[in-house]
């Protein structure tokens, strides 16, 4: 006899549970985590490197690098003398909470204030998988075009901050920053928009000021309220 069983359970609930555990572990060590996402080549590693160089004296930074293969990005970060761990997904197009969970076990969390998780370059799947991060940061670069927000609305909808990188190249592209800004406001009212160039370093301070202000209060003060 056939029986129909109602389930109504989110397929990614298993991932979300692990993400909650990551979150608790990061909270315990008072580490603030940013999940950095973009398409390949938009400047995730460059923005992370620029941020490390700007904030190094004020915050202890660590980085988890996510790539399908290679340790190129981790090698670059390593030169900044900060803890870095490379995850090679071996084909998977995004990081998931279990990968981060294993990575966190191997990172010196007690020696860190700020953790960058550089996701695999992709504007689709990383949006679906919570990692336990405090904020989602999305980078879009001028040469990619301002239509990315319409093509990949989910990530733009979820982002806490959107960084337009390579603004030094704006004169050579048709990227309409004002139009993009309006579209972003329409889709996501909470997201902050930053315009930066990791080549000329223009706008980097605005961005790092936001990172500092969005981080939880200094370690000696009381804990931030838990996430809903």
């Amino acid at each position: 006899m056939k029986v129909n069983i109602k389930i109504l359970k989110d397929i990614l609930s298993a991932n979300d549970q692990i993400a909650e555990r990551n979150r608790a572990l990061l909270d315990k060590h008072k580490v603030f985590a940013l999940n950095v996402m973009s398409s390949p080549g938009a400047g995730k590693t460059s923005l992370i490197l620029d941020t490390i160089r700007t904030l190094k004296k004020r915050k202890r930074v660590g980085v988890i690098e996510g790539d399908i293969s290679s340790t190129i990005d981790a090698e670059k970060v390593k030169k900044e003398r900060v803890p870095v761990l490379q995850i090679n997904t071996g084909g998977e197009c995004h990081l998931d909470a279990a990968m981060i969970n294993r990575a966190l076990e191997n990172m010196p969390l007690e020696e860190m204030d700020l953790l960058f998780i550089e996701n695999v370059g992709n504007l689709v799947c990383p949006g679906e998988f919570k990692l336990g991060e405090d904020r989602k940061v999305l980078i879009v670069s001028a040469p990619e075009g301002d239509d990315k927000i319409y093509k990949y609305p989910l990530l733009f909808h979820l982002a806490d901050a959107v960084v337009v990188n390579k603004i030094d190249l704006l004169p050579y592209t048709t990227f309409d920053v004002d139009g993009f800004s309006k579209a972003l406001k329409g889709l996501n009212q909470k997201a902050r928009l930053f315009r930066v160039s990791c080549t000329t370093h223009e706008g980097i301070e605005d961005w790092t000021d936001w990172v500092l202000s969005t981080m939880r209060p200094p370690k000696q003060t009381s804990r931030r309220q838990p996430r809903p």
């Binding site: 029986v3 579209a183 329409g186």
Partner: protein
């Protein structure tokens, strides 16, 4: 998805999973053919082997924050068809869940 289905099916203690009813939104980035392909591969040797997977797709729905109008956004146009403002709340299209399973 397979873990979830097996866990629920095992709770009932019945024999085989015959059908899985999946719901996913337009924005969820799910490709039905891929799900089917990997499901067939991963479910081999489990009580869900051979189950059919049915997909119910939910279109993206937005609500205008200005006038409250509900609408389906066009590809390059998220503006409200009624008041033409662009300020939306996404009310549907992000779903990704197992609605029900049929066991025998």
């Amino acid at each position: 998805m397979l873990d979830l289905v097996l866990e629920e099916a095992n709770k009932t203690g019945t024999g085989k999973v015959r059908k899985i009813n999946l719901v996913f939104g337009d924005m969820a980035g799910v490709v039905g053919d891929c799900v089917q392909f990997y499901f067939e591969f991963l479910s081999r040797g489990t009580i869900a082997e051979g189950a059919s997977v049915s997909f119910r797709k939910v279109p993206t729905q937005a609500r205008c924050r200005e006038c409250g109008q509900e609408f389906t956004p066009e590809e390059f146009d998220w503006s409200c068809p009624k008041c033409h403002k662009v300020s939306v709340e996404i009310t549907a299209g992000k779903e990704l869940f197992v609605e029900s399973i049929e066991v025998e």
